[in-house]
Each structure stands twice: as C-alpha cells, then as structure tokens.
C-alpha cells in the first residue's frame, strides 16, 4: 500500500519521537556493567529455570527489558513481545549499539523456536510458551541432528509412536546444544516409516525432566562441553505438544533453520561491542609510519576487514530489501555461509596476531582466545554446514540442476 507524502512525514516524526524516548529509557535503565563488551561466555544471559544470574545487574537488565517485551522486540504484544515495527526495532537496536548495551537474553527460544511457534503453533501453545520465552523463564534446546542424520537431516530415525492421547518417543539426538542446561526441547521425530523421508517427520515439544530423557555432555577440542548426546527411552509426550500437523514437521524444521542460520551467520557481523581486528593488531604488533609492523599480516587484516564491512552491509541490505518486498530469498544461506567463514578467518588472524602468547592453556584469563578459535571451527558445521549452504544457493538461487 502506497503511503502519501503526508503519511510518510507523520511516520518519520513518530520514529524520531520513538528514538528519543528509547534513548532516554535505555540511559536510565541499562545498568553500567551491562554496557561493557561481552568478554567471556559468563557475560551472556541464557535464562531458564536453572539459570543463576552472574550479577544483580544481569537480572535487572533482563527483567526491565522483558517487562517491555524488548527481549523479542517484534513479537506481538498480546503474547508479551515488544510489538514494534521493523523500523522501531531497528532504532532500538541502533540505540542499544550506541551505548554498547548487551543483549539482555541469549535464547534459542527467541532466535529459533519462537518464530516457528508464532507461525505454526496453535493458540494454546502460543499462550503457554511465548510469554515464558520473552521473560527468559524457559530455556530450550534443539533436537535435530542424530548420529546417522547430520547434513542429511531428513533421514532421522528417532521415533514417536501414537499411543492415543500421547506419543511414546524413543531414539537419540546428538550435538544438542546445552541439553544439560535446558528446560524443554523442540524435537524432530519420525512418525511415519513408509512414505518419503521428508513426509514422515513431526515437530514435538517436551520437558527435559520427563521420565526417560538422559543427557551426556560431549567434551570438545576447546575443552568445553556445549553440546550433548541426548537419549529418549519411552518418553511420554502429550499430543497437545505436537506443533502443526502430524508428519508435516519438515516445513517447520526448515523454517526454523532459516532463523538459526541467521543467528549463526550473525556471529560474523556483530562488530559493535568488540574491538576491530586492526586496533587489536596495532596494540599487539606496534606500527612503523602508521602501518602495522608486519606487512603480510597487515594485508590479510585489511582484506578481512573489507569483507567484514561488506558482509555487515549485506546483512543490512537483506533486511532493507525484505522490508521493501524486494528480497531474493535464500538470503539466510548466504549470511550463514559467509558470516561463519568470516568468523573463522577472524579467529585465525587473532591467533596469528597473538603469536606464541595465544597458545596458553588452562587458566580462564588467557585461554579465551584459543578456545574461541577452536570453537569457531564448528560455526561452519552447525545449523547446516557451509557445503549445505552452497548446495542451497546453487539449487535454489542459481537454479542449477541435480
């Protein structure tokens, strides 16, 4: 619908007012310690029943933002979301970036499940789960990959048998992020073994404290254990917790994956709140005539920063195009592919800048760099590997056969 010039003027004026009010509110309500850059994983707030806040400020910041629904700014206000327009949400983000405000809540509920639930869930499911997600009271994990279903996710074998008023779930999942810390799981299960593999999958929600659920953390090369093996043995799941239609879970899974890809791809572009690679390198290496002392490293850093800038602008353009109805589609694959590969390059360069000092292991203060470097290797695997994203681009955008 075309807006008249006068309508545009009113909207612009409204947005200016929104910006002023938002700025004032953030100034007053964002605690000083929540404006410092995120240095370690401990600075993130994941929420949930088992969550122990790292500080009072972390708790207060979450509560204040959740109160306004600003942990999920664009979700409908009737379910506790912020109810903001895209323009307003962009302003909120800009104003948060301006003061270096941390995200009040990191949540798979917000980044992954929520959008799918709002689109495919029934009214009772939305009323039950969305407000809890917004307030950070429930922590979710994702039951997708299995030992024999990685890139070929649709061949998954965890099964849910129809027992009248409930399903009985059996099988196992792997690479379940934070399964040991989560309250609930959104889980892909096979409900039909006869037809095509994509058409026998259903999307279930269940409590991780249900009888028959067990979890085994996997120790990674970084020394941390963010992922788990998850086992289900005769887990009873009420039918009310089936999202969408039975055997129609694959389309929900794919929809959710586009949001996951955007979240993971975003790792590469969160330039705000962290120092530029060039600045870090200048401090570490020193400079001669205003240039980094090492010419080869300098050239690689400049190439990286140009890509990083062009990538951040692409993420911005994708949003602007979507808003104007000009999107090309499959943008999430592009962002996931490029963002994760860039993050790996950044970590490689940080290790090179650090030199031998980057090799320390065993004490929290010095190990973050090398652990992040090791962790970044998984960015181009999780949520669909880079090769899967290239497949999607080749087939869906370029229209290549096969």
């Amino acid at each position: 619908m075309a807006r008249t010039f006068a309508q545009e003027e009113i909207i612009v004026a409204d947005l200016d007012t929104f910006r002023e009010e938002t700025r004032a509110w953030l100034d007053e309500n964002c605690p000083a310690s929540m404006r410092r850059p995120v240095m370690t994983d401990k600075d993130l707030c994941w929420g949930g029943r088992k969550w122990v806040f790292a500080s009072d400020d972390q708790r207060v910041w979450l509560e204040r933002m959740a109160e306004r629904g600003w942990t999920a700014p664009q979700w409908p206000a009737e379910y506790g979301g912020g109810g903001l327009s895209k323009e307003e949400a962009k302003i909120l983000k800009q104003e948060m970036t301006r003061i270096g405000a941390r995200r009040p809540l990191d949540s798979f509920g917000i980044d992954m499940l929520g959008p799918a639930l709002l689109k495919f869930g029934n009214e009772a499911q939305k009323r039950r789960f969305i407000p809890e997600i917004v307030r950070g009271e429930i922590r979710w994990c994702q039951g997708y990959s299995e030992p024999n279903a990685g890139s070929d996710l649709a061949s998954l074998q965890a099964r849910a048998d129809d027992k009248g008023d409930h399903y009985l779930v059996n099988g196992s999942k792997v690479w379940t992020s934070y399964a040991d810390k989560s309250d609930w799981i959104f889980c892909l299960v096979r409900t039909d073994f006869e037809g095509p593999k994509h058409q026998g999958i259903s999307f279930l929600l269940f409590d991780m404290e249900s009888e028959g659920v067990s979890v085994n953390p996997i120790r990674l090369i970084s020394g941390n254990s963010p992922f788990c093996e998850t086992f289900f043995e005769n887990v009873r799941v009420p039918k009310a917790h089936l999202v969408g239609e039975v055997n129609q879970g694959w389309s929900i899974a794919k929809y959710l994956l586009t949001h996951e890809r955007e979240m993971i791809g975003g790792f590469g572009l969160s330039r705000s709140g962290r120092e530029s690679l060039g600045t870090i390198a200048r401090q570490a290496l020193g400079s001669a005539d205003g240039r980094l002392a090492n010419e080869g490293l300098r050239a690689d850093i400049a190439a990286f920063e140009i890509d990083e800038l062009a990538f951040a602008l692409t993420a911005e353009r994708v949003v602007d195009e979507a808003r104007a109805g000009q999107g090309t589609g499959a943008a999430s694959s592009l962002l996931k592919l490029y963002g994760t590969e860039l993050n790996k390059v950044r970590n490689e360069l940080l290790m090179s800048v650090g030199g031998s000092a980057a090799l320390r292991w065993g004490d929290a203060q010095h190990t973050a760099l090398s652990q992040h470097w090791l962790r970044s290797k998984g960015n181009s695997l999780e949520g669909g590997s880079s090769e899967i994203q290239l497949n999607i681009i080749a087939k869906r955008i370029l229209g290549l056969p096969g």
Partner: protein, 377 residues
Amino acid sequence: MALIFNEEQQMLRDAAKTFIGESSPVARLRELRDRGEAWSPDLWSGMADMGWTGITIAEQFGGLDFGYVGAGIILEECGRTLAASPLLSSSMVCADLVATLGSEQQKSDWLPGIASGEWIVSLALNEADRFDPGTIAATAVADGSGFALAGTKRHVPDAPMATHFLVVACTNGQAATGDDLSLCLVDRNAAGLGVTLSLNLDARRVGELQLDAVRIDADRVIGLGGGAGEGLQRALDIAAALSAAELLGLAQEAFERTVGYLKERKQFGVPIGSFQALQHRAAQLFAELELCKSVVLKALQAIDADAPDRSLLASAAKAKVAKTARLAVNEAVQMHGGIGMTDDFDLGFFMKRAAAAVQEYGDDYYHADRFGRLSGY
C-alpha cells in the same frame, strides 16, 4: 539510508539496461576492435540525448542532478556490455572537480559543455605505471598573467576523443606530494601539448601527454595555490566507487553467462551444472558478488551524502570488487572450458576489460592499503 534503489533509480536502471543493451551490446565492441576504431560517437550522442552526460551536474548548468547512485547504475550497465564512453572521466570525475573547486564563472563556463556532451574532459593525473595520486611531478609555473605547464602524464583515459584535459599539476613549481596541487584545463590542440595514443588490451586507447611550456590563462586553473587536495580526494573517491560499479556490472554479466552455460552444456550425459564441484564454485562467486553489491551501493550513497566515511567506503568498494571481478572472469573461463579461450567467444573481452578497469583509479592492492591507512593501521 536504506540500502535499496528508490523508484526513480529503478526506472533509470531499466532505461539504462534497454538503451545500452540495444545500442552497445558486446558485439559492438567486437566491431569497433576489428575496424580499429577507438570509440562510438553515436553511443556518446545517444547518452547525451538521455541526459547522462550531465547525470551528476546541477540543473542550473544543464545537468540532471541525479546523484552518484544514479551514475553508478549507468556505469554498471555499461560494465555489463563493456560499452566504452568518456562518462566516468568527463561527466562524473572532472565535472565533480569543477563543481567542487571551480569559481562561479568557471562553473558556468565549463559545466554546460560537459553536461551537453560537447566537451569531453579527461583527467590527466597518472605519471607512474601504478596508481599513485600522491606523487605528482608535473608543474604549472606563473608566467605573466597565466601559467606555463610542463611534465609528462601517462595512461590518460579517453585520450582519442578528449576535447580538453584537466591536468593535475603542482603550482608552487616543485614536485608535489599531496596537497600542493592544482588543476589546469588544457585544450586538446594547445601549443606545446603532444598526445601519443596507445592501444590497450581492452581495445581502448590511452594517451601519453607531453606538456612542454603549454601556456594557459589564470582563469583556466582551479584550486589555485594548492587548494585542490581535498577536492581531488573527493573526485578520486567518486572515481574509485564508480569504477567499482562498472566492474560489478562486468563481473555479474560474466557470472550470469557462466551459470547459463552450466545449465546448458552437457558432459557425461548430464548438464555440467549438476556437478557439485562446479555448483559450489558458482555459489561461492554468487556470495562474493552479493557483498560487492552492498559495498558499492553504500559507497555511492556515502558520496551523495558526503558522509565522513566516504573515502573508507570507496576504497573498500574498489578493493572488494576488483578482487571479485578478477575471480569472476577467471572462473568464467575455467567453467566454460576451451571455448572460453577462443576469440570468437565473448568471454575474453570480459577478462581483458576487467584487467584494465581494475587498474583504473587504483587496483585492489592500492585500495586495501588505503583502507588500512584510513583505519589507523
């Protein structure tokens, strides 16, 4: 500002695509090359009729005042068909120098001629083989009521058709670095000016100018007393961003032709585009081109807004696109196989033009280095 084209800009793109596609397809370049002709005056008068020769010039001087995003749209379409014209140097770069640095009198004397396409002004800047605008040895020394120009300029664009040269020279009589620069408008047939043309691999011709006591009146100098540094920097940002726009068009066209070929060429009984090895190379190139589109548009918007990060963005754009265009033409030939190596097939034109356009106004190495300097390292 949103990173999308507005309605007017989209209309301009449609018009440019149609006009350039019809009046100057790649086949036209082949004709010109085979006949040994330097350029197409018909294309130029057509562009003038469309108003493009004054695309960024203010309306009061006969231009369209459409801005640099618009200029980029036209050059991108020129890049797609490898159409050669003096638009970049004359109507965009030199016109901006006059508009930014010229007196009111100079603007009203010179800009209407550029806007109508009657004047073709070429920027005579380069002296070295690698782009180095900070080191200028040409001099303009006070001589009675005017100046006498001396020096050598190399790789000067649009030399065959230029009616004037805008010569970058040092007015304090010494070899200059950076700010001691002025710009002198020299008629093509001025006494003491020698122009030697050289053919480049892209079938375009560049000039070497020998300036031997070329006399000009004082009112032919802009940025007198070394005031041109700032304005020249802005003009070279414009040149870099627009050169990137042209290369982006070229790279996209080479890419799209390649994807088309992958769908149609069969080996082992199937289209070669069904092979994952080629699919992934094409998809990777697609991703690089998407980044190029974003950074070029942002750089051109920054020029239109005269934003503080204009120089950083212009260098990022040229560095990123130059590297990607090189990748695009190399991948195009590799994925086409032997046919891509033949002169009968058009791909070679893309590869050759890319090599030349990469050098114009600084290649990826120059601009990545500048990006680093501007970023404080």
